[in-house]
């Protein structure tokens, strides 16, 4: 297992894919931070909810973390490297496990960086605009831990999702369709079910407890379950399907 993990970590840092995702994540977070920080009025910025929204921007990293996991597996199918990977390690579940762990580590790093950026730049902007920091320790703790948990879990979910779909383009399109179309439809069409979607479960990780969301712990556990189901399905299918 250690060998497979080292191999996966080497793969992750030897192409520009994850570097690109990292750059994209930083850029998106900066744009959002600056937009909220600069357009909000002084009284807006002093508001608790507004500050919470500002420091939640780090959760945008979840998208990029998901892509880390999706790319970790679909890029091997796309470029055919999956063949040599499985020839060297015919016990395919070891490969999947190594990809889960390495993606989780990357997701963790992305999440830590994202929340660090949010707080660093967000706090500087509050100071510059003369607003007081009004979040309490619980808020901060929830934001930090929630963001990191969120990115780690989405990265793992991405591996499972990618293993099920295999085709890189289809996987990315399916993600977009899910977040942009299917999830909103579920939200509006099935009252009460909306809080149980992966996206709502994820949102509850950092959110102030709200009626339409689960508790952070409940949402976190639900997201863990989603990730576990996708990884189990991907692992099952990858073991069964021929590699042609």
């Amino acid at each position: 297992m250690t060998d497979q993990l080292l191999s996966e970590l080497r793969k992750m840092r030897s192409t520009r894919t994850n570097l690109g995702l990292l750059g994209g994540m930083i850029a998106l977070i900066l744009v959002f931070l600056l937009t909220i920080g600069l357009t909000g009025t002084g009284s807006d910025l002093a508001d608790h909810d507004h500050q919470h929204r500002l420091f939640s921007i780090g959760t945008q990293a979840a998208l990029f973390a998901t892509l880390i996991g999706v790319m970790a597996i679909t890029s091997e199918f796309r470029h055919g490297t999956i063949r040599s990977t499985f020839v060297v390690t015919p016990r395919r579940s070891r490969v999947i496990a190594a990809k889960v762990i390495s993606s989780l580590l990357m997701g963790l790093m992305f999440g830590a960086l994202a929340i660090g950026l949010s707080f660093g730049i967000g706090y500087a902007m509050l100071l510059a605009r003369g607003a007081h920091f009004v979040l309490d320790t619980n808020d901060v703790l929830l934001l930090v831990l929630g963001t990191i948990a969120m990115t780690s879990l989405w990265a793992v979910l991405g591996v499972g999702f990618g293993a099920v779909i295999r085709n890189q383009v289809f996987a990315v399109i399916a993600l977009i369709v899910w977040t942009g179309v299917v999830n909103p439809i579920i939200d509006s069409a099935v009252p009460g079910a909306g809080r149980y979607t992966p996206i709502a479960a994820s949102a509850s990780l950092t959110a102030d407890p709200a009626e339409y969301l689960l508790s952070p712990l409940g949402g976190g556990l639900l997201l863990v379950a989603y990730a576990a189901v996708f990884v189990a399905a991907g692992n099952f299918l990858v073991a069964r399907r021929d590699v042609t």
Binding site: T2, D3, Q4, L6, S7, E8, R10, K11, S14, T15, R16, T17, S75, H79, G80, T81, R83, S84, T85, F86, V87, V88, T89, P90, R91, R240, D242, V243, T244
Partner: protein, 331 residues
């Protein structure tokens, strides 16, 4: 040209020490993809130290067979064994079997060295339990340097694979297969896209690999590519075994006929029949004779006092035999 049914028993490997089990063994191997029967009841066994050409036209089932041997494709029926067991059941199988499956199996944005290092790390070492990450990384990097040297790719190792020529990719694939210092090499169409120099390099490589007592199974759809490097051939067509025999025996299927033009063709025909030589009268003054040399025919004609205008040996090439074997006869 008609070729009678060929014997398909295993070739005799007289002088070689008998191994406990064949290095590669297909037993009634069958694979069905939906409606397509890609491999159909294929059986053969390869002994240690042999270089075997795995031949057949495109779509004959060669690639599927090789992938079943490597546990990438699950057989519908029958067994595909290496070293007496299923590939997936071997401990660190890549330390015994090296494979090059496709020339394009690389991430274009990754350097050749990183590609190999990722494989070397996954392969690991024997008795490495408890080794630190750094030790494992070092061991992998030493192994990578060695195979890069072997395939003469050291200079380009840090370039992205996207910038490699096809020949360089083939060699990079080979380097990957050699990481575990294997006893068996499985190569799927390795000569595809190689220039003549590359083909010769590959041929020399396979010969020296086999000279160390190791085994090679190399597929091709062109006999000429491997003719000079293999000592036996497994020929398949439409998923079924056509023949499995030493190259030397395949040569005996070469029809060496002699065409004779002589005004007294009928007379010569009779003379030859007397000697028990079968000859076919093509037309009034032309004979086609199989199974004898032009020298003998000349002597018989001379002894019988028959003038001969032309005496032309017509040998078919191995490629003709191969095509004959793998081309479906119109029925």
């Amino acid at each position: 040209m008609a070729i009678e049914a060929l014997p398909t028993e295993s070739p005799a490997r007289g002088a070689r020490p008998a191994a406990a089990f064949p290095v590669v063994q297909a037993e009634h191997l069958t694979k069905r993809f939906g409606d397509v029967l890609a491999v159909d009841d294929l059986s053969f066994a390869l002994e240690r130290g042999t270089v075997t050409g795995f031949l057949g036209p495109n779509g004959a089932g060669k690639t599927t067979t090789l992938r079943m041997l490597l546990h990438l494709v699950e057989p519908t029926d029958g067994r595909a064994l290496v070293f007496g067991g299923r590939y997936g059941d071997l401990e660190r199988p890549a330390s015994r079997v090296g494979a090059v499956l496709e020339a394009a199996d690389f991430h274009p944005g990754r350097s050749g060295r990183d590609h190999l290092t990722a494989l070397a790390l996954a392969l690991g070492q024997e008795h490495s339990d408890g080794n630190w990450f750094v030790e494992r990384e070092h061991a992998a990097s030493r192994r990578v340097d060695a195979v890069l040297e072997l395939v003469e790719l050291s200079a380009a190792a840090d370039r992205r694979v996207g910038s490699y020529s096809l020949g360089m990719r083939q060699r990079l694939g080979l380097a990957g297969a050699l990481l575990g210092d294997p006893e068996l090499l499985i190569l799927d169409e390795p000569a595809n896209g190689l220039d003549p120099e590359g083909v010769r390099w590959l041929r020399d490589f396979m010969r020296s690999f086999a000279a160390e007592g190791k085994t090679v199974l190399v597929s091709s759809h062109v006999l000429a590519e491997v003719q000079q490097s293999v000592d036996q051939v497994v020929i398949i067509n439409k998923g079924r075994l056509v023949t499995f025999e030493p190259l030397a025996r395949l040569v005996t299927h070469l029809s060496s006929s002699v065409r004779v033009r002589a005004p007294g063709a009928r007379l010569l025909h009779t003379e030859l029949e007397k000697q028990g030589i079968r000859a076919a009268l093509m037309n009034r003054d032309e004979l086609r004779i199989e199974g004898t040399s032009s020298a003998q025919i000349g002597e018989i004609a001379f002894a019988a006092g028959i003038p001969v205008h032309e005496l032309v040996p017509e040998a078919s090439s191995l490629e003709d035999v191969f095509l004959e074997l793998t081309t479906e006869e119109p029925s």
